[in-house]
Symmetry: C2
Subunit: 408 residues, 2 copies
C-alpha cells in the first residue's frame, strides 16, 4: 500500500491524498461504504460503483462466523468473493466482539433496544472473558464459543484477504471507569505490537508465494481521556504500521477535542481512518478538517432501510404521510440513481407496501449522498473554498442554528 499527499490545507489539518492498493486507488478524503457480511446491504456491486463508492469495509467478526474465513480465502479473497474489483478493508473483529459477541439471547435483545453504540457497549461488561492473551466470546448467531487474539485476528484477516487490515484492539465504553479504560488502552498497545509481528510474518509468506502483501493500520484508543489519547497516539505512531485507525469516538461533539489530542502526534505521511463515524454530515466535516483521510459507517444504509433519507435540508422520513402525493425527487440537488428516476411518492409507496426495492433505492440515495458529500469536501479543499462550502452546507442541513453555530 502506498499513500501520497497531493495537497495540504493552509487553514486546517485537512489534506487531499491517494491511497494506492492492489485493487486500485482511493482518492482521499473518502467515505468507505460498509459491507458488513461481504455485501453492502441491498446493493449490487454495479450500484456501489455507480454511486461512486471507492472502497468497501467488511467486518471480520461477522465473516469469521458466517460464511467462515476459509470460504472467502478459497474464493481468492474478499473482493473476489463479492465479485468486486475495488479496494477493500476489514476491521479487526474487536468492535463486534466487545459489542455483539457476548450473550446471544437476552443481551442481544437489550442491545437492540438500546439506542446507540455507547449504550450497547455497556452490555459487554462481564459477558466476555478478556485476558492478556485474548478474548473468549460467544457468537451472537448461535451462542457457540470462540477465542480471538491479535494473532488469530491477523490470521483471519489474511484469509479474508482485504487490502487494508486493522490491528486487534480492546474497546471499552467511554462511560467506563478511568482504570478500566487505562487497562484496555495498555492491552491495546501490547496487542498492537503482537498484531504487527504476526502480520509481518504473514506478509512474508505472501511474498514467498508471489501474492500481494496486505497493509495494517494500528488502532488508537483512550476514550475521552486526554493523557491516554496522547499516549496511545505516540505509542502507535512509533510502530511500523501502514496507517492509523482511530477508535472509540461515538459522538460528533467529541471529534474536535479527541482528534486535537491525537493528530498532532501522528506522522503526516500515513493515512488516518476514523472508525465507525460518518452517520451525519457534521462527522465528516469535523473529521476531515482535523486530518482524517477515510471514514466508514453503516448508518447510511441502516437509516435508509428505516426510511430516513438525507436531503440538503436535513433528514426526512419518507414513510410520513406528507410524501404520499409529492412527485418530486427526494432531494432536488441530488443526482443519484434514485433521485434521477423516482419520486418521493413512489418511494413512500414502496416503503408502505414493504417492497424490497424500497431498501435498495433508499440505500443508493443515502450512500450516494454521503459519498458525494465527501467528494464535494475534497473538491472544496482543492479549490480553497472549504469554509464557505461547509458553512452553506451545514446551515442548510441542520437548520437548528443554535447547535450548528458552534461548529461553523
Amino acid at each position: 500500500m502506498k499513500f501520497k499527499i497531493i495537497k495540504s490545507s493552509s487553514k486546517n489539518l485537512s489534506r487531499i491524498g491517494q491511497i494506492e492498493t492492489t485493487h486500485g486507488i482511493i482518492n482521499t478524503p473518502a467515505f468507505i461504504v460498509g459491507g458488513t457480511k461481504a455485501t453492502v446491504k441491498a446493493l449490487t456491486i454495479d450500484q456501489i460503483k455507480n454511486l461512486n463508492a471507492q472502497a468497501i469495509l467488511a467486518n471480520t467478526y461477522h465473516l469469521m462466523l458466517q460464511p467462515g474465513a476459509k470460504i472467502i480465502q478459497h474464493a481468492d479473497g474478499l473482493a473476489n468473493f463479492m465479485g468486486y474489483n475495488g479496494p477493500t478493508f476489514t476491521d479487526s473483529g474487536g468492535f463486534q466482539i466487545f459489542s455483539l459477541g457476548l450473550a446471544y439471547k437476552q443481551n442481544l435483545k437489550d442491545m437492540t433496544n438500546s439506542r446507540n453504540s455507547t449504550q450497547k457497549l455497556q452490555y459487554s461488561k462481564g459477558l466476555i472473558n478478556i485476558t492478556d492473551e485474548g478474548v473468549e466470546f460467544k457468537s451472537h448467531l448461535d451462542g457457540s464459543k470462540y477465542f480471538m487474539s491479535p494473532e488469530k485476528s491477523m490470521e483471519i484477516q489474511h484469509q479474508i484477504g482485504a487490502d487494508i487490515h486493522m490491528a486487534f484492539d480492546q474497546l471499552t465504553t467511554p462511560l467506563a471507569d478511568q482504570s478500566i479504560i487505562e487497562e484496555a488502552c495498555k492491552r491495546t498497545h501490547q496487542w498492537a505490537l503482537r498484531s504487527l509481528t504476526k502480520h509481518q510474518k504473514l506478509n512474508q509468506q505472501h511474498q514467498k508465494n508471489q501474492q500481494p502483501e496486505q497493509a495494517l493500520y494500528g488502532i488508537i484508543q483512550g476514550g475521552r481521556i486526554k493523557d491516554l489519547r496522547i499516549k496511545s497516539a505516540k505509542i502507535i505512531n512509533q510502530l511500523d504500521f501502514d496507517g492509523f485507525g482511530i477508535g472509540g469516538i461515538f459522538e460528533p461533539t467529541e471529534i474536535n477535542q479527541v482528534l486535537n489530542w491525537i493528530i498532532p502526534r501522528l506522522t503526516i505521511d500515513k493515512p488516518r481512518h476514523l472508525l465507525g463515524m460518518g452517520a451525519q454530515p457534521l462527522d465528516l466535516f469535523l473529521g476531515i478538517e482535523n486530518g482524517i483521510d477515510t471514514f466508514d459507517c453503516v448508518a447510511p444504509t441502516r437509516q435508509a432501510r428505516n426510511g430516513a433519507l438525507y436531503t440538503s435540508n436535513g433528514r426526512i422520513n419518507i414513510k410520513n404521510q406528507q410524501f404520499k402525493t409529492n412527485y418530486l425527487p427526494i432531494d432536488k440537488n441530488c443526482y443519484c440513481y434514485t433521485c434521477i428516476n423516482h419520486s418521493q411518492s413512489y418511494l413512500h409507496h414502496l416503503f408502505k407496501a414493504n417492497e424490497l426495492l424500497a431498501y435498495t433505492l433508499a440505500s443508493i440515495h443515502n450512500e450516494y449522498f454521503i459519498v458525494n458529500l465527501v467528494d464535494k469536501i475534497r473538491l472544496s479543499i482543492l479549490n480553497e473554498s472549504y469554509q464557505e462550502f461547509k458553512k452553506n452546507f451545514l446551515i442548510n442541513y441542520y437548520q437548528e442554528s443554535d447547535f450548528i453555530n458552534k461548529f461553523i
Copy 2:
C-alpha cells in the same frame, strides 16, 4: 395498440409477432415480468431492462388498495410512477379479488398454507358477495369493504394507465361444480361487454384530451369444460377487443387440451395472453406451440426469494449445504448479471445470512432465465429449429424422462 405477425410456424400454432404500444414494441412470444405493486420485487428498472424484460404486468387489485389508483394517475400513469419507459399491462383485479379479497384474517392464513392457486381459489367460496352487478370484497390488508364491477375496473385501470388492460371476469376454481363454472362463465361474458363499452367511452375521453388510447383484452374462461371453453372463445372473439387473455389454467398438463379448444376459435390477427402461467419452462413451450403470444407470472421472483433457482439441468435450492463451497456460477450456460459476477458459494452465503442482496441477485437470475428462454424459443421458431431446441432443453431440464416424454 397494433399487432402484426411476422412469421407463423408450419409445424404448430406458434407465431412470431410484434405488439406496438405507446411505450414501445414487444417482440412476441414474450414473457411479461410481474410487477405486482408497481415494482418487480427486489429489482430496479435498470436491472429489469438489463435482463431484457420487454414489459411489466402490474395488479389492479393491489394498486387500487395501495397506493390507490389516483396516486398513480397523478404521476401520469403506471410507467411514469415506476420510472419505467417501457410497455405495461394491468390485469382486471378479478383474480386477486376472488383469491385474496375475501376474509383477511383466518382465510389469509389458510391460503398462505395452501400450496397452489387451485387450492387457494377454493377459499373464496361464500366469502365474497357476487351479483350480476359486481363483487363486494374485503381488502386483504385491513378488511375494509370494496365494490368492484366491470365499469369500476375499467375506470381504475384507466387511472393506472397501463398500455394494455384486461376485461373484468369472474374466476372460479376448476374444481367447482359445473353449474357454478357455467354461471361464472355467463357472467364473464356479460361483464366482457360492459367492460368493453366502458373502456371505449374512456378511450373517447382520452382522444378528446389528446392522450394515448389504451388497449383492452377480453378474457376467456370455462375451466376444464370443453363446451364452455369453446363457447367462451367464440363469444369473446366476436367482440371488439384488442386481444385475448386466457384465464383459469393452473397446471401445465392442462395447457394442450384447453388451448386446443380455444385457439382455433380466435381470429389470428389479435395477440393472446396466457394469464398467470410461466412458472416452469414446460408452460412456455406448450403455450407458445399452441399459439400463445405473451405470458405473465410472478413465480420466477417468488421462487428466487426462496432460493429456488432455475438451471439448464433443473431447479436447485441454493440454500442447500452443497453450494457452500462451489465457486462456479449458478448455471454455466447463463449470461445474467448474477452468473457473470457471482458464485454459488456467494449466493449461498447471502441467503444463509438473510442478506437483501440475495433476493435481488436470485430474482435477476430467475427472471433472466425465463425471459431468455422465451427469447430462445422465438429464435428457434424463426430459424425452424423449434422441435430440436425444445427436446434438448426439456430433457436437460426435467431429467425425469417419464413425465417429460409425454410432451416432446
